[in-house]
């Protein structure tokens, strides 16, 4: 019965193509808006997330909250690196003023060890990163980033030159590559200098020689998850199994924030698009109501030869459903073509209709078809057969 009704509905929809197309137009535009907007945001989110995780590699930050009288030393990090196939580097973050001649900038100062270059995925363009001997000897040397070199020193050719950090002269031993990734625009830190960890400790008199936070990453071939477990166990042992003595967090926080902002945007724009879908549904109801009146006699004939109320209801409901689903399908096709075109034109990100968005569009369209088809269908089904037969339309 449903199959027969669907066949009849399809016949009647295809029977008047122009009218059906105009009826579907609202749904087509609604689905198009929904799918294209949501897909664009999804595509952009994925792209940005890729960029962010590409920026820092994968690492954990371990922060010691309470050392219970047994502070961590560099030797402990060395032991961690020896035991697990891991990389561990202390990181002391300070803000400092850099001076060279008349130029003066504020920069973020990181005191760390050579291992950090691998954890943070840093690439040196000129010179070298910090060396083990620099750390051991408390050398006043610094590796600065591209922006700092240009804005403070005025040139990239400044290896071996000195500048002042909070009044102390430092020699430049390396310049990092320019960070051109999209993510660097989000994490705003334009001027950065890396100095030996031991040197940084001396610049900041308030803290002792202990390590109160360090970065942890996997060496090639190591499992990050395994390392996390091992280090957790090691620290638990050290701090009398006090779980609150330290905290291990990962670097996905930025990514998480991005994603949550984008899903908000997705919801907002998707909601606006959904409103246009509802308007499309009203269009369907409108035409269906006209169609019911036009086909009063047909309904009378069908009832006279044995169609029950339910059969007529089903027929008109399926007709509304066919209209909305066909519109949805055309909208999806149009969206797919448009997204391909946009991907081709933009060139950096691949936008496409994901199955989840398509599913949402299909579900929403059929719901709209059902809801807005119900009234006309019910009106058709309720017509008394003799009156419908007498109707001269």
């Amino acid at each position: 019965m449903i199959f027969q009704s669907a066949k009849m509905a399809l016949q009647s929809v295809l029977g008047s193509k122009v009218r059906s197309f105009l009826t579907m137009l609202g749904i087509i535009v609604g689905v198009f808006a929904l799918v294209v907007l949501v897909s664009l945001i999804q595509g952009a989110t994925d792209y940005i997330a890729d960029q962010i995780s590409g920026l820092g590699g994968s690492y954990y930050t371990v922060r010691i909250e309470n050392d219970r009288g047994r502070p961590l030393k560099q030797e402990d990090l060395d032991a961690i690196m020896d035991e697990n196939n891991s990389l561990a580097a202390p990181l002391k973050q300070l803000s400092a003023t850099g001076k060279h001649g008349r130029e003066s900038i504020s920069l973020t100062l990181y005191g760390t060890t050579p291992v950090y270059a691998d954890i943070g995925n840093l690439s040196v363009e000129y010179g070298t990163f910090l060396r083990q001997s620099n750390v051991e000897n408390h050398n006043a040397v610094a590796v600065i980033n591209h922006a700092a070199a240009i804005d403070l020193m005025g040139t990239l050719q400044c290896l071996g030159e000195t500048f002042e950090l909070n009044g102390t002269p430092f020699q430049i031993i390396g310049i990092l590559e320019e960070d051109s990734s999209l993510a660097s625009a989000f994490i705003w830190q334009s001027y950065v200098a890396y100095v030996p960890y031991t040197t940084a400790l001396r610049m900041n008199l308030s803290t002792g020689a202990s390590i109160d936070s360090f970065y942890l990453s996997a060496a090639p071939g190591g499992s990050l998850e395994q390392i996390r477990e091992d280090v957790t166990e090691r620290l638990l042992q050290r701090f009398d199994r006090d779980e609150d003595a330290f905290a291990i967090s990962d670097n996905t926080a930025v990514e998480e924030t991005m994603r949550s902002i984008n899903s908000m945007l997705e919801l907002l724009l998707g909601g606006i698009a959904a409103v246009s879908l509802i308007v499309g549904g009203i269009g369907i109801m409108n035409i269906m109501l006209v169609s019911v009146t036009e086909r009063t006699r047909e309904i009378g004939i069908r009832k006279a030869i044995g169609a029950s109320r339910g059969t007529i209801l089903l027929q008109f409901l399926i007709e509304a459903l066919v209209l909305s689903l066909l519109g949805c399908l055309l909208g999806l096709l149009l969206s797919d073509m448009t997204l391909r075109l946009i991907s081709y034109a933009v060139g950096i990100a691949a936008f496409h209709v994901t199955s989840s968005v398509a599913l949402i569009a299909i579900t929403f369209s059929s719901l709209i078809g059902l809801i807005f088809g119900l009234h006309p269908a019910n009106k058709a089904a309720a017509k008394p057969p003799i009156e419908a037969l007498r109707y001269a339309g």
């Binding site: 019965m1 027969q4 016949q11 009647s12 029977g15 006699r297 047909e298 009378g300 004939i301 069908r302 009832k303 006279a304 030869i305 044995g306 169609a307 029950s308 109320r309 339910g310 059969t311 057969p385 003799i386 037969l389």
Partner: protein, 224 residues
């Protein structure tokens, strides 16, 4: 077969109440060919609507094939119309978008018959009215007589207990009318029950039995 007893039906038209049927009683046996004759406004359309289960009476009882119809639900009435009654209307009442075959098939779809059986019945019915060559045509592409033959085939296909024809020749010229009446005679000779409603004494005279209806009262005219 059909037993109407004391059927009353009235309509309110404006401020006036019209008694379309006033204690009408009627008895039709299986295999009969009956003409119900009366001028317009006599209540014959109302009678046809009640016999055809398109409408229900205000009072009185109606028995079709031994079953009392009055307490049927809308759904059950649709089923009775579908299986027991084959309508043939003055204005043919075919669905314009559908071809002859599809029009004839429609009541069988509502009967939920399997595809194969539907096809067999449709072919037999259309062949019986001699329209097999024009089966793929839509009503607008057929002459009046041909459309009425499609309508008869539609009634035939559902194998009804009763053919109910309302002025079947009213919109046709005399030559075509004769053809249609010949089909009714054929159907009658095959043992079908036919009730023909008309205002035309010429047409009515071809029936085996004539019943006259006037101002809502039913009287027997002639039997053979």
């Amino acid at each position: 077969m059909i037993r109407l007893s004391d059927i009353c039906k009235s309509y309110v038209m404006g401020e006036e109440t019209v008694h379309a049927l006033d204690h009408a009683s009627l008895h039709i046996h299986p295999g009969e060919f009956v003409a119900i004759i009366g001028p317009s406004g006599s209540g014959k359309s109302t009678l046809m609507n009640i016999i055809g289960c398109l409408d229900s009476a205000d009072s009185g009882s109606y028995q079709l094939d031994g079953q009392y119809i009055e307490d049927y639900s809308e759904r059950e009435l649709a089923q009775v119309r579908n299986r027991k009654i084959g309508f043939i209307f003055q204005s043919f009442n075919l669905i314009p978008k559908l071809t002859a075959v599809e029009n004839v098939e429609l009541p069988l779809i509502y009967q939920r018959l399997p595809h194969r059986e539907r096809q067999e019945r449709v072919e037999r019915a259309i062949r019986q009215v001699g329209l097999w060559e024009r089966r793929g045509h839509k009503p607008s592409e057929l002459s009046g007589g041909q459309q009425q033959r499609v309508a008869i085939a539609r009634a035939l296909a559902s194998k009804p207990s009763l053919f109910l024809a309302d002025e079947p020749t009213g919109n046709l010229d005399s030559k075509t009318s004769e053809e249609i009446m010949r089909i009714f005679h054929d159907l009658h000779s095959l043992g079908n029950t036919i009730v023909l409603i008309t205002h035309d004494p010429q047409v009515a005279s071809q029936a085996v039995r004539q019943i006259r209806i006037l101002d809502g009262h039913v009287t027997e005219v002639a039997g053979q």
